[in-house]
């Protein structure tokens, strides 16, 4: 069956909105990568915690996930600060600190996922807002996608402008280029890297709130989303803002179209295929340097 033009348009819009949420998740991961120079394996687990926060606040107190996103952001910022001080900073400057960070955050991911499983079991949960889709012209868009996508786009742009336009953003970029040379300018690199890890974790928290209205909330989503986030940043190019944008949208697309045409089962296959093809053409990712 050939889908109609409206169906395709609807699919595209939905894919872009979902992709935007992935962009926010990937920006968070990249922001952390920028200063730590290692992938935060716990990023998916951070998103999962944000999603659980949204779920419980909605379930127990009826607070909308869009409002409680602020709480998710703060809670994950605190976890981010803890991660930076205890699991990252002690290893800065060590010879194998990238490898150490990778292993340590992998351990953190397993810990967080299993604590969640222990406390709240594997039961599928989720925030059902029960709102009808928004109709725009001939297409109708699910509201969780619409709102989630718009919030994600706004936050990604805001953070981008902060990095580009403010002195703190310049300082953060300087630290991600060279801690040593940043110090010679008068920047305390630990303050900046703490700020970036906190920001990245807070973005993961917000991503979780947005995603709680779209996907089932389970402990397992911590590892699924973690792998997804890592796929996106490797696809787009590690540490690159443009890379997070392109990678996030591509995965959103691959997923939405894959689900429509092939069924949800083939999703992972589809984005690993995308990754394989892109990396065999450009090993540093689409927008990656070096």
């Amino acid at each position: 069956m050939i889908p109609s033009a409206d169906t395709i348009l609807q699919l595209i819009v939905q894919a872009l909105l979902l992709g935007s949420i992935y962009v926010l998740m990937a920006v968070g991961l990249n922001v952390i990568y920028g200063v730590v120079k290692a992938i935060n394996w716990a990023h998916g687990a951070f998103v999962m915690l944000g999603a659980y926060a949204a779920y419980w606040l909605y379930e127990l107190y009826g607070i909308s996930p869009y409002a409680s996103a602020v709480f998710s952001a703060i809670a994950l910022a605190a976890i981010g600060a803890f991660t930076h001080e205890l699991l990252m900073k002690p290893f800065f400057g060590m010879r194998y600190f990238r490898a150490i960070t990778l292993v340590v955050t992998y351990g953190l991911a397993i810990l967080l996922i299993n604590i969640t499983r222990y406390m709240w079991t594997d039961v599928l949960r989720g925030v059902n807002l029960g709102v009808p889709p928004a109709t725009i012209g001939a297409i109708s868009i699910s509201r969780p996608f619409l709102y989630g996508g718009l919030v994600a786009i706004a936050l990604s742009i805001l953070f981008y402008l902060m990095l580009k336009r403010t002195q703190i953003g310049r300082a953060a970029r300087a630290v991600s280029e060279s801690r040593k040379h940043a110090m010679l300018v008068g920047i305390n690199p630990n303050v900046m890297s703490r700020f970036m890890v906190i920001s990245g974790a807070a973005m993961a928290g917000v991503t979780g709130s947005l995603i709680s209205t779209i996907f089932a909330v389970t402990p397992e989503m911590g590892s699924v989303l973690g792998i997804k986030a890592i796929t996106i940043v490797i696809l787009g190019g590690l540490g690159s803002y443009a890379g997070a944008l392109i990678g996030g949208l591509m995965i959103g697309f691959a997923e939405a179209s894959g689900t429509y045409f092939l069924g949800a089962r083939y999703q992972p296959l589809l984005y690993f295929l995308t990754l394989l093809i892109v990396l065999s053409i450009k090993p540093t990712g689409i927008a990656g340097e070096e």
């Binding site: 002195q167 310049r170 300082a171 970029r173 300087a174 280029e177 060279s178 040593k180 040379h181 110090m183 010679l184 300018v185 008068g186 920047i187 305390n188 690199p189």
Partner: protein, 234 residues
């Protein structure tokens, strides 16, 4: 102004500086010359707080600064333009300059200083919105010196500013250094280009395998027969 006393520095068990003492007085241009591997970069890195001395002490404006981190040393007004320039290649020229006015003292006079730097290096004004990584070697060095000035240093330390530059650009860099000196900026200059450095310097130190082998006024060292033979090739 700067007083380095009996400083030892090592990388692991490998001792690089042994009992190095040196001083820089207000408004002086002091140079440290020495062959490759003598320990010149190590000396400046230690003063800037990047390396801890094993022994000895470093005072700046009467205050002990050894053992404090580099970003605090900058706040004291002691600024290093490091070997390899230390620009941020992914930031634009303007962003590099603005960022380098990081301390409160420097921030207050940022706009005024940027204007001065642009007057000193007009090419930087033209390249203002370009990424620093796209500049030529000479422009990179100008940016590095410009960044050093943005910090409003009381003492500016430069690690081989002429390294790897074409002779014409080297001349230009040295004439800028002369101008900075005339404007009353205190400078500690490290150079392999011993001849030019000694001509410019009020006082000079010769570093040989981590020890001060000779010191005196610039022209005195220029006249020394052994130094002429070994370092000036005359």
């Amino acid at each position: 102004m700067l007083q380095v006393s009996e400083v030892d520095v090592s990388y692991g068990h490998f001792q690089v500086l042994s009992g190095v003492s040196l001083q820089v007085r207000d408004k002086e241009l002091v140079t440290v010359i020495g062959s490759n591997g003598a320990g010149k970069t190590t000396l400046l890195s230690t003063i800037a707080g990047l390396l801890p001395p094993k022994r000895g002490e470093i005072r700046f404006m009467g205050k002990r600064i050894d053992g404090i981190p580099p970003y605090k040393v900058v706040e004291e007004g002691l600024v290093l333009v490091p070997e390899g320039r230390g620009n941020f290649s992914r930031l634009t020229v303007l962003e590099n300059l603005e960022l380098s006015a990081y301390t409160r003292r420097a921030k207050e006079r940022k706009d005024e200083t940027i204007e001065e730097v642009f007057n000193l290096f007009p090419i930087l004004r033209e390249r203002m919105h370009q990424k620093a990584g796209t500049l030529s070697g000479g422009e990179q060095q100008m940016l590095a010196i410009g960044r050093g000035l943005m910090a409003r240093p009381k003492l500016l330390m430069l690690d081989e500013p002429s390294l790897g530059l074409a002779p014409k650009i080297v001349l230009q860099i040295f004439s800028i250094l002369r101008r900075l000196k005339e404007e009353g900026i205190t400078i500690l200059l490290i150079e392999q280009n011993a001849h030019r450095a000694l001509e410019l310097a009020d006082r000079a130190y010769l570093l040989e395998t981590g020890r001060v082998a000779m010191q005196g006024r610039g022209e005195e060292l220029l006249q020394d027969p052994r130094l002429r033979k070994l370092y000036l090739g005359i």
